[in-house]
């Protein structure tokens, strides 16, 4: 009996001294030395391990490689820049803007909550080989090969595979957030005429002395779940050419959009796109039956009997709004996402009634040959009214 017991004890001791076995019996302590180490931040020397040759390409020179259409970057191209965007307010989403002395660029990292990993001012190194340089309505973007889908209309797609991000985007030292570049009307004009490689695009910029233009632009889709490209004008409603349509907020959250629609603010807006105009949203798809393509008409299902207005309420989503501002004779739009936390914040009343000017700070981009702002911070910070 004793022998057997001894044998058992020996076996047990042997078993428990096995390292791998011991590990699975110990709890993972969540304090002290068991906490994960601080994140590794890369120095320029570290990058050599990943093939960095010692010389960075400037963002300007990178942009200069663009020849129209999306192009895949090659030739061991590395850029570096400091982070100037943050998605903390939700206005900028799935995009990271970095800038160096020569320009800024939109790196389309297709992930949310990037501010948790890229802090303002932090150095970022991007290995560009294999990424695609493209344009979105004239604005430079660095992303992935465009999707091969039939409906794709972009030159690039999001870098949303973490393994690809890990191989191309390296976080470096943290630094003070950059001060915005204060620019004049002439600077903007110069950038617009430079086009794609314009130095201001994708940079953090302050435009001083802007006057509110009393005009907005927005495009909403009555049923966003149905096709809504330009080939489906029956599912597009433009809010333009009529001042502000009563919109005094930076954008429209789902709830605010519903309120606006129900209040009748958009009753005079027309369904249609370009030259194809069907009539106001108080009509039903049924009323336009002979003008709408049969397939598109069927896709409304029983909703054909609802007015467009009712359809807009039924399928409401958040919607962006572009407000027009002016410096001298140059228009600068401020485009705000309906998903921004400040989307429902009203513009300062002194701007609306024209009694004050403002300095706006944000990321400047080019959109179809015009300058367009995206606010990074809340308007209380990025729009200084005086």
């Amino acid at each position: 009996m004793k022998k057997i017991l001894t044998l058992l004890c020996v076996a047990l001791t042997a078993l428990s001294s096995c390292r791998s076995l011991r590990e699975e019996w110990e709890p993972v302590f969540t304090f002290g030395e068991n906490l994960p180490a601080a994140e590794k931040l890369y120095t320029e020397d570290d990058l050599r391990e990943f093939g960095f040759g010692g010389k960075f390409t400037t963002i300007h020179d990178l942009k200069a490689m663009y020849k129209g259409g999306g192009i895949e970057v090659g030739g061991n191209v590395w850029i570096r820049g400091q982070v100037i965007s943050s998605d903390v307010t939700g206005n900028i989403y799935r995009e990271l803007y970095i800038q160096d002395e020569t320009g800024g660029i939109d790196v389309k990292i297709g992930k949310s909550s990037l501010y948790s990993e890229f802090s303002l001012g932090q150095w970022v190194y991007v290995y560009c080989d294999g990424l695609t340089l493209g344009a979105y309505n004239g604005m430079p973007q660095l992303g992935m090969e465009a999707d091969g889908t039939s409906t794709n209309e972009y030159e690039t797609s999001y870098i949303d595979v973490q393994a690809i991000i890990d191989q191309h985007v390296y976080r470096g030292a943290k630094a003070e957030a950059l001060k915005p570049l204060v620019v004049s009307e002439n600077d903007i004009k110069a950038a617009i005429s430079a086009g794609y490689t314009g130095e201001l695009w994708g940079k953090l910029v302050t435009v001083p002395g802007l006057q509110y233009g009393n005009e907005i632009f927005a495009l909403v889709y009555p049923n966003p779940n149905l096709p809504h490209k330009s080939t489906n004008p029956e599912n597009r409603v433009f809010l333009s050419d009529k001042g502000t349509w009563g919109i005094d907020t930076w954008a429209m959250s789902k709830n605010l959009y519903m309120t606006y629609v129900m209040n009748g603010m958009f009753d005079e807006a027309e369904v249609g796109s370009g030259a194809t105009r069907f009539g106001t949203i108080t009509n039903r798809p049924q009323d336009f039956k002979d003008k709408i393509a049969a397939k598109a008409y069927d896709s409304f299902g029983s909703d054909v009997r609802l007015s467009y207005k009712e359809i807009m309420v039924k399928y409401a989503t958040a919607n962006y709004v572009s407000h027009y501002f002016r410096i001298g004779k140059t228009d600068v739009q401020v485009r705000t996402s309906g998903y921004a936390r400040f989307s429902d914040t009203p513009l300062d009343s002194r701007l609306l009634d024209g009694s004050a000017k403002c300095d706006i700070t944000g990321i400047l981009s080019i959109y179809n040959g015009a300058a367009q702002f995206s606010l990074v911070d809340e308007p209380s910070v990025s729009v200084k009214v005086y």
Binding site: L35, S113, V161, G301, S302
Partner: protein, 975 residues
């Protein structure tokens, strides 16, 4: 009523005064283990004449028994002992002599002893609304349950296709199924195998002495000190699918001369396993009990036990993930933290149970007992929670190749480079641990990056903490030789608090108590996104949470039930009949303890009304706090049992029952985490159940054959799923689910007669468990009072149409705008094989046992979600339900059939005739088949962003698999 009571009392008094007539005849003998002739203590002996039970006794420590005072005649003696197969022998008493049966051998059931809650890995069903509660078949005294219980547990076999909630599990005479969910309570005593070994079991709709029961059997675990096997016992167990090591010890005094009995049982289960990474145990168990017998007629039993500890859970993934990783046992719940494996989902429990039982046995004719039982403590389950941060789950669908490329152009997924990289990562999982497992290091670093200290990722712990008070009393009265009356009363008060708390801030300083789902819709109304509106009103901001703080939701599920039952058993020669009825009432309600901004309800006083108005808070009809309406359900049931004994060793019996049961709390509240709203139109569940059985027992042969037919109507359930298109938790409430379960069961164990001590054993369970109704579905989302769809029919729930095709393969129009249906494909009750069979050999000789079995499982189906079976889902955005769409969207997946081979061997030695040392080794799935699906669920979501905008697609379902070759080695010793 009063008169009836008086009559009953008089009858009881009368029965006491009757004493056994002075017969000199009797039966005596010794019950022994057929192998080795060791005496068996506490074997229960029941002596019957025809169908009439004449006497009942227990063997003493030396295995002996004696039943005196018998008139001459032919009797049947049935011997039942834990861990042994039932035995039946014929006895003839003549000339007034005491018949000495000498040694009555029992065949040991060697393997069943280790089946308990641990036999099933904890499957993590996330918030899917599906549940995974296996049925555990007990009953070494039933040849079918004995073999099926051991061999079929791996594939989550459910007897007769019934849900586990229908299996009644009693402890010390108290029904302990969970008051809120109805689930069986085995986890309360897992690891206390010695203490909980003694039990009585009936199957199907049979009536037992200790409770009325339902239609899916009843198991009563004694759990008192005297029922624990006497002596000092210890065991060391290792197994390869759950934990490395189990240490267990017990000591019991047995009933001592001074009337006391004491028992202790402790155990520890530790370590990981060979198959599923991240699954581990750090569980302990303790049990203390004492019995005291006074004057032979009164007995008090007390016990206190719990199984505290933690165990890591396993998660289901899609087949895409399993195929890429090359491992069907991949578990997405864990990741490396600083190089160490850490599981995000850990069940942490400490739920003690204590009871006091009083037994009163004034005579052979009458016995009664009453038990007061209290269950309390903590039951937590951790999970990751995050706010404004990327989904941390590694197998999130946007991380998989299929999200970037799909061969179907309509899916609009065409990016070969991205798909290629995602594939590269998943096919080389070991090289990319941070991408294919939870990246704890990243979660910490994200939290550390927050300048304000506000954590983005935390580990939460969801609690379901019970206060469960039970009182049960029952009696058994042999009013006359031909009639026995049993009956009882049971009452229950259950208050279950559901809440979550911050378990780990993962490097952050605090977490904020706001509803991140609501925030997106109501950014400009900060009061609406508050989980705790009262705190916000008092402090002007949301609560900053630290470790241990409750947050998110907090409510009580309150359940009250009261019931009475009575059963009369009448014997007429070889025929016996019992007729029983149960009457009761169940009431439950929700009591919200936190006022949520989305559903503030109405202010409860003028001061609050003023405060609300000031803060701009809009009252709502639906309320998150205070007390909901009460759901009240009268319950009743009747049962009839007929039993005919043929020649002592054969028995034919039939059961029929009708049950009107209350639905469960979690089947009635639409979204109990957020509000008091109840589902409309919930009705009591009505069950009709019947079975016919034939049993043969004797001469080493045990056979049972059963045919059963059951219909269950008006079932309801609520399922929840996170819908990232709505950015909200969607709740799908289904009412009016009917099903029909019918089939046969066969179990046998027969000596081969060719080789001595070698038996053939097998079971067959062949059934058809189908849905028979068209239920209705109501969809709501957690962050809105708005009803997405209300009471819509789910026409494809019970079947899928198979359309007729012409010679060239085209569907044939039916002349009414649609297509001809050739037949309707039935949909089946999921999560159990509808065919299960086992055939094996069993060898028992000289303390050796060797068993080998081959098993077959077939016709197992995947759990269905109701959304895919609606007209909406088959219609798609264009509302056109083409035959292909209908077929694709509504059909139910059938799992591939599976073969398993199991093998067991064991031996024990007696040392100095005093100590016993033994081992048993069970090897399961010897063929190492790693492709056996044991369960899973459909994701309740639709892919709707297609190119054509004509149809929807399904999300891939998630599966669980059976482990490949695995073993369990148990070494035990007894002093």
């Amino acid at each position: 009523m009063k008169r009836m009571l008086l009559a009953a009392l008089a009858a009881i008094a009368l029965s006491f005064s009757l004493s056994a007539q002075d017969y000199t005849g009797g039966v005596k003998g010794t019950v022994v283990n057929r192998n080795g002739r060791q005496p068996i203590e506490k074997a229960r002996l029941v002596l019957s004449k025809g169908a009439e039970q004449v006497a009942e006794t227990e063997t003493l420590e030396d295995g002996s028994f004696s039943i005196p005072g018998l008139p001459d005649g032919m009797y049947t003696l049935t011997i039942v002992a834990p861990d042994f197969l039932d035995n039946q022998v014929q006895v003839t008493v003549n000339d007034g002599y005491v018949k000495n049966m000498f040694n009555l051998g029992m065949t040991a059931v060697n393997r069943i002893t280790e089946i308990d809650d641990d036999s099933f890995g904890a499957f993590d069903m996330e918030d899917s609304g599906y549940n995974d509660n296996p049925t555990i078949l007990f009953g070494s005294n039933d040849v079918f349950n004995n073999i099926a219980g051991y061999n079929f547990s791996a594939v989550r076999f459910r007897a007769r296709g019934y849900a586990s909630e229908s299996q009644d599990v009693y402890l010390a005479g108290v029904r302990l199924n969970d008051a809120v969910t109805g689930y069986s309570p085995f986890s309360l005593w897992s690891g206390l195998n010695e203490a909980m070994r003694s039990k009585e079991t009936v199957s199907g709709a049979e009536v037992s002495d200790f409770g009325f029961g339902g239609y899916n059997g009843l198991t009563n675990i004694f759990g008192n000190a005297a029922s624990v096997r006497k002596g000092l016992r210890g065991s060391v167990l290792t197994n390869s699918t759950l934990y490395r090591l189990r240490l267990m010890g017990s000591y019991a005094t047995g009933l001592m001369d001074n009337g006391w009995a004491f028992a202790v049982n402790v155990s520890a289960r530790l370590g990981g396993n060979d198959w599923i990474d991240g699954v581990y145990y750090r569980s302990f168990a303790y049990y203390l009990a004492a019995d005291k017998v006074f004057n032979n007629a009164h007995k008090l039993s007390f016990a206190f036990f719990a199984a505290p500890g933690e165990r890591g859970a396993q998660n289901a993934s899609t087949q895409e993930v399993y195929d890429l990783v090359g491992d069907n046992m991949y578990n997405s719940n864990w990741g490396y933290q600083n190089g160490r494996v850490r599981n995000a989902r850990v069940r942490k429990t400490h739920e003690p149970v204590t009871f006091l039982k009083y037994d009163y046995t004034p005579s052979d004719k009458f016995e009664a007992s009453a038990t007061l039982l209290y269950r309390f403590g903590k039951n937590g389950y951790t999970a990751l929670d995050w706010y404004d941060a990327q989904d941390p789950r590694p197998d999130y669908y946007r991380n998989l190749p299929s999200y970037f490329k799909d061969d179907n152009p309509d899916m609009n997924r065409m990016n070969r480079i991205k798909a290629g990289w995602a594939r590269e990562v998943w096919t080389h999982a070991a090289q990319y641990p941070s991408l294919t497992h939870v990246d704890w290091d990243r979660l910490y670093n994200v939290n550390r990056n927050q300048a304000d200290g506000r954590a983005k990722y935390i580990q939460e712990e969801r609690h379901v903490d019970q206060h469960d008070f039970n009182l049960a009393a029952s009696f058994k009265w042999r009013a006359a030789d031909f009639v026995t009356v049993t009956g009882g009363v049971n009452g229950r008060i259950n208050s279950t608090e559901n809440y979550k708390l911050v378990a780990d801030l993962l490097g952050g300083e605090y977490f904020l108590d706001v509803d991140n789902f609501a925030e997106r819709d109501f950014a400009s109304q900060p009061w609406k996104v508050q989980n705790d509106l009262n705190y916000y009103l008092a402090h002007g901001e949301a609560r900053k949470l630290h470790v241990g703080d409750k947050y998110g939701y907090d409510y009580l599920a309150q359940v009250r039930s009261l019931g009475f039952w009575v059963n009369g058993k009448f014997v007429l020669g070889n025929l016996s009949a019992s007729l029983g009825a149960r009457l009761g009432n169940e009431t439950f309600w929700r009591h919200g303890l936190m006022r949520k901004g989305l559903f503030p309800g109405y202010p409860s006083n003028a001061e609050m009304a003023r405060q609300w108005e000031q803060a701009g808070i809009v009252p709502s009809d639906e309320s998150s706090s205070w007390v909901s309406k009460k759901a009240n359900f009268p319950t009743y049931a009747v049962k009839l049992n007929l039993n005919y004994v043929i020649g002592g060793s054969q028995r034919v019996y039939a059961n029929v029952g009708y049950f009107n049961d209350a639905p469960k709390f979690n089947q009635v509240f639409l979204s109990p985490r957020t509000r008091n709203t109840m589902m409309q139109g919930v009705k009591p569940v009505k069950t009709f159940s019947s079975d016919v059985n034939w049993q043969y027992s004797g001469g080493g042969i045990n056979v049972r054959a059963t045919a059963f037919y059951t219909t269950i109507r008006n079932q309801s359930k609520v399922m929840s799923a996170y819908d990232d298109l709505q950015n909200a938790f969607s709740n799908f409430a289904i009412t009016g689910i009917d099903q029909r379960n019918m089939g046969i069961e066969l179990g046998f164990k027969v000596p081969t007669y060719i080789v001595e001590n070698l038996s053939v054993q097998g079971v067959l369970s062949l059934g058809e468990y189908v849905y028979t109704s068209t239920p209705r579905m109501t969809q709501t989302v957690d962050n809105s009072a708005e009803i997405v769809s209300e009471n819509v029919l789910v026409p494809y729930w019970k079947h899928t149409p198979v359309f007729a095709k012409d010679a060239s393969g085209n569907y044939i129009p039916d002349g009414e705008g649609f297509y001809q249906v050739e037949r309707w494909q039935k949909h089946y009750v999921p999560s159990t094989p509808q065919i299960a069979a086992s055939l094996g050999l069993s060898y028992n000789y000289n303390y050796w046992f060797i068993d080998a079995d081959v098993e077959y499982f077939g016709r197992s189906f995947l759990d269905m979600n109701p959304l895919y079976r609606t007209d909406y889902a088959v219609g798609g955005p264009d509302y056109v339900d083409a035959p292909d769409e209908v077929l694709y969207m509504t059909s139910q997946e059938m799992f591939d059939p599976a073969w398993l081979v199991n093998f067991s061997v064991g031996k024990s030695w007696y040392i100095k005739r005093k100590y016993q040392l033994g081992f048993s080794l069970n090897a399961k799935n010897v063929l190492n088949n790693k492709n056996i699906k044991t369960g899973g669920y459909e994701q309740t979501r639709l892919v709707d962003n297609t190119v054509s905008r004509e149809r929807f697609y399904r999300f891939d379902p998630k599966y669980f698999y059976n482990a490949g070759f695995n073993y369990m080695l148990n070494i035990y010793f007894r002093f």
